[in-house]
Amino acid sequence: MHAFDYKSPEVLAEALQQLADSDGSAKPLAGGTDLIDQMRTGRHQPTLVIDIKKVAELNVLECAGDGLHVGAATPCYRICGDDNVQQDYTALADACNIIGGVQIQSRASVGGNLCNSGPAGDSIPAMIALRGICVIAGSAGTREVPVAEFCTGPGQNVLADNELLVEIRFPPRPTASGSHYRRMIPRNEMDIAVVGVGASVTLNEAGTTITDACIGLGAVGPTPLLAARAGECLVGQTVSDATLANAVEAAKEIISPITDMRGTQEYRVHVTGVLVRRVLETAISRATGDPCVVRPGH
């Protein structure tokens, strides 16, 4: 590995300044579970590593009237261990619960998962489904970008060199809503999604009709995807196999998976359909109050 400088600012402004001063040759480090490995293999060779774990704003985990705030560097174990997240933003808890094992979860952040911008990043479809908004700070001020628009290509996103992701904000959850994230992996643990699907569903009071739905897809295109039409086609429909089948078809329309060592293109198309249906079923059950415990790998 090459030699580099290391700084660990405690104030956001200081971190932003260091970033601005380094002219694109610095890399923020949250958990480091992606970055350190990428530096080891030479994929990234920053001359300065800015450890952002000590910046307070990046470590929040708060559920308030305006929704949920997840600091970009907040580790996964805190997120999936949080009662509010488990209760109302279950898809996010599901995702944080399967990113790596105990060691990884105690370092890895969803901010890092998002900024790494891998097509298969597990938290991203969940955050898309929960309509997360990225709060981004730079020398020129702060801006907001929906999670669904954050990634622009494999390993690429909307961040400028001098910008930091500060937090991801999620709107408050309506009553009778439920969400779920699930991935297909060949093993039952420690694997990368062949297909990942996150979905959030809100039902009417009677629990019979879908009033809102949002679906995120992972590993089936160059970026995680918002399956907008698949979500929209569910709205106003009664819960039925036929309704879900429409969403499945709409989701399949927007994907462009590849064949690689994790699965064939054909397989990924098929599995997208299976998972969209299964994830919607679980999200709907959760919207009706059934917690639906999911076993690893299933």
Binding site: M1, R187, M261, R262, Y267
Partner: protein, 758 residues
């Protein structure tokens, strides 16, 4: 479970705590990467990015200019071998190929092939220096497909290879070829056999290249002293083999090399060949300082010795009463860059479980632009078990016969002649099938949609070979046991237990140590499931010698002749019923003549073969093609289980590796010959969530060639799992899987009735 009336043992069959346990669980044990010597340098390698290319030019000047860089070597620094074939303990090896595998000379033959190496003050400098070495290549078309590699118009990898014919194969031509070996074994009349058959089944199978997946990467530290004595510290399956390979590659006498074994984090056949050792030695020669080189995981995958991918066509014929009458097999193995796949063993194993009157087996060892393959746990046998055991299952289905009944009816037994010639001594194939038939597992019916059960058997030869031990009686009644077998699976303890049993003392009173090649007699590799058998015999011989010496010492004490003293259950008994325990006499040895030191050696070529039969239940998600293992039972003939926990551990470990091979493991190559998954993220060995508790049934049919009846247990458990799982998938979904791994996308495609698209 015991099949024979078992002698009553005091130590054998018990489960003492392993002698090296405390060091291992507290992290004190020193592995290859732990070595630190004063003034030590760190090495790194430059490796080919291409699968097949000519080396046009190597420019090391920029690397040599870097501060902290102490030496750079290329093939020019590696001695020329000429046309030499050397017997290296596991068979004859073409030295030119071995040398070229260690450091490419004119051509690179696989991605990851070493072309240069650097020694520097630290590993980062060494790596940076490697990046500054310029290598100009002229790329050649990569040969990756087994069948295409065999065709007459395929690009040639090695211009010195001509097909070598073995067995009854017709002699090869003088043409350049990628087919390095052609085997043919025949028995009976194959035509008549199939003519007599009422049912014939035949299928083609493909299996992917897979790696042993040991946790510890390869490592070597070497110091070339001013007096031309070379010391090597490394983790290896065989110190004497590593010594000889290193000496031959450096054109030095074997006695100039000393190999010091470090603890080993797994080998499974992959840590016999040397890769880094000669490079570390040559870098040390140039610098006069010790040099340490470690491989990364990616280097381990790309450039050590995985087991080949295969293409097989197998055909079986049976009478309607279930009698097997004929079997035919055509098997091609990827040798990798240089000849040496376990195709010969595969040809011998393919029908080894059965009493087959008419058989014909043909095998090919084929060079392709992938790493040179090497041994992996029962090398070659798992591939062919996938084929034969799937077809046996299909025969059972067609005959409407229970798979255990069919196997019992046709099992090989004492006196059965294998297709390749040898006649079996007493073996336990039938007993392992009976053990499965009578198991709780097999007797419990399996319910559940998309659930299925499969049965399969497997065979491995096991080898004997040479071992040496020495054992000294300490004045406190303990015995210091010195051995040359590096301990991979708990053999310090299983050897110590055999010494203890023979002397009638406790296993805890034996203190085993594994030492370097200057400190013990010649000992072959830890491989071929041989150590508990063969080093065990050496330890028993050493113990018998100690018994004799102890009788002589007691005779001095009792003022009688040695023949009047008996050695009984750890006691010396004199002519007038004087009695001293081993310890009591040991305490008096100071006054009783010479030191008591026993030496023992062993060297039989063979041991009785090992058989196992497995039963597995699976559940499949038919929408995802994903297979879950619900329950697994393995029955295996261990001859006599010295330490039952270690026997069970070997059985379970073999099954886990077999499950990985069956379901997910594979080298995933692109068309340029680049492996896309050289990490444990995408090379999927099973995790603890992927395997249930594996139930074990130890069958004991003693091997008459060992005083206590030991049979090696390490290898055969990997053979049946892929076939057993394939048969279970058939039971669950009605599809015959003929390609490994049976990854979700393949199972799904087969289930949906389509052809897989790769």
């Amino acid at each position: 479970m015991s099949t024979a009336e078992k002698p009553s043992y005091k130590v054998i069959g018990t489960r003492p705590i392993r002698h090296d346990g405390v060091d291992k669980v507290t992290g004190r044990a020193l592995y290859g990467a732990d070595i630190k010597l004063s003034r030590m340098l760190y090495g790194a390698t430059v490796r080919s990015p291409h699968a097949h290319a000519k080396i046009v030019r190597i420019d090391t000047s920029q690397a040599e200019l870097m501060p902290g860089v102490r030496a750079v070597i290329t093939s020019e620094d590696v001695p020329e071998q000429g046309d030499r074939v050397v017997e290296l303990g596991e068979g004859a090896v073409n030295m030119r190929h071995l040398a070229a595998n260690v450091m490419a000379r004119e051509k690179v033959l696989y991605k990851g092939h070493v072309v240069a190496a650097v020694a520097a003050d630290d590993v980062h400098t060494a790596e940076e220096a490697c990046a500054r070495i310029e290598v100009e290549y002229e790329t050649l078309p990569p040969v990756l497909d087994l069948l295409k590699a065999m065709s007459a118009d395929a690009p040639i990898l090695n211009d010195d290879i001509r097909t070598e014919s073995i067995g009854s194969a017709p002699s090869g031509s003088d043409q350049q070829t990628n087919v390095a070996k052609h085997f043919m074994f025949e028995k009976g009349d194959i035509k008549q056999g199939f003519a007599d058959a009422d049912i014939i089944v035949e299928r083609t199978f493909d299996t992917a290249m897979v790696h042993q997946g040991y946790i510890e990467p390869h490592n070597a530290t070497a110091h070339w002293n001013a007096d031309d004595k070379i010391t090597v510290w490394m983790s290896t399956q065989g110190t004497f083999s590593a010594r000889q390979q290193t000496a031959e590659l450096l054109l030095m006498p074997v006695s100039s090399v000393k190999v010091v074994p470090m603890e080993i984090g797994g080998g499974f056949g992959g840590k016999i060949s040397v890769y880094l050792t000669p490079l570390a030695a040559l870098l040390s020669k140039k610098t006069g300082r010790p040099v340490k080189i470690l491989m990364s995981r990616t280097e381990v995958f790309e450039a050590t010795g995985p087991t080949p991918g295969s293409h097989m066509r197998v055909k079986l014929g049976a009478k309607s009463d279930g009698t097997l009458v004929a079997g035919e097999a055509w098997i091609a193995f990827e040798a990798g860059a240089y000849t040496g796949s376990p195709i010969g063993a595969a040809c011998m194993c393919v029908f080894a479980c059965y009493d087959l009157p008419n058989g014909q087996v043909e095998g090919f060892d084929v060079c392709v632009n992938k790493p040179r393959t090497n041994a992996y746990r029962a090398p070659g046998s798992t591939h062919v078990a996938m084929a034969t055991e799937t077809l046996v299952d299909e025969l059972c289905e067609k005959l409407k016969m229970d798979p255990t009944e069919f196997r019992i009816k046709n099992a090989a037994g004492e006196g059965t002649r294998r297709v390749d010639g040898p006649v079996y001594p007493r073996i336990g194939m039938v007993e392992t099938v009976e053990a499965i038939r009578d198991s709780e597992h097999y007797k419990t019916t399996l319910d559940g949609k998309f659930c299925g059960r499969g049965v399969a058997s497997g065979f491995w030869f096991n080898v004997g070979l040479k071992s040496s031990v020495s054992a000294t009686v300490n004045s406190d009644g303990t015995v210091a046991l010195v051995e040359g077998s590096t301990d991979i699976g708990g053999t310090r303890t299983s050897i110590a237990m055999q010494l203890a049993e023979t002397l009638g003392i406790a296993a805890e009173d034996v203190n085993p140590v594994v030492v370097d090649t200057d400190s013990i007699g010649y000992t072959d590799i830890t491989g071929g499931s041989r150590v508990t058998f063969s080093t065990g015999i050496a330890a028993i011989n050493a113990a018998i010698s100690i018994q004799e010496q102890m009788c002589q010492r007691a005779a001095i004490l009792w003022e009688t002749d040695a023949e009047n003293v008996r050695y009984e259950e750890g006691h010396l008994v004199g002519p007038s019923d004087q009695r001293l325990s081993f310890r009591e006499l040991a305490e008096k040895l100071r006054e009783l003549g010479d030191a008591v030191v026993g030496y023992g050696t062993s060297g039989s070529e063979t041991q009785g073969g090992a058989f196992g039969t497995h039963c597995v239940d699976v559940e499949i998600d038919p929408e995802l093609g994903k297979v879950q293992i619900l329950r697994y039972t393995i029955a295996q003939d261990a001859g006599t289980a010295i330490h039952p926990s270690y026997v069970e551990g070997q059985m379970q470990g073999g099954v886990v590796q077999g499950i990985g091979w069956a379901l997910n493991e594979e080298y995933w190559y692109d068309e340029q010959g680049e492996m896309h998954n050289p990490t444990f993220l995408d090379y999927r060995i099973p995790t603890c969530y992927d395997v249930p508790m594996i139930d074990t049934i130890i069958v004991e049919v003693p091997d008459p060639q060992h005083p206590y009846g030991v049979r090696g247990v390490g290898e055969v458990p990997i053979c049946p799992p892929p076939a057993a799982i394939a048969n279970a998938i058939y039971d669950a979904l009605g599809i015959r899987m003929t390609e490994l791994p049976m990854a979700p996308h393949r199972v799904l495609a087969a289930y949906l009735g389509r052809n897989t698209d790769d």
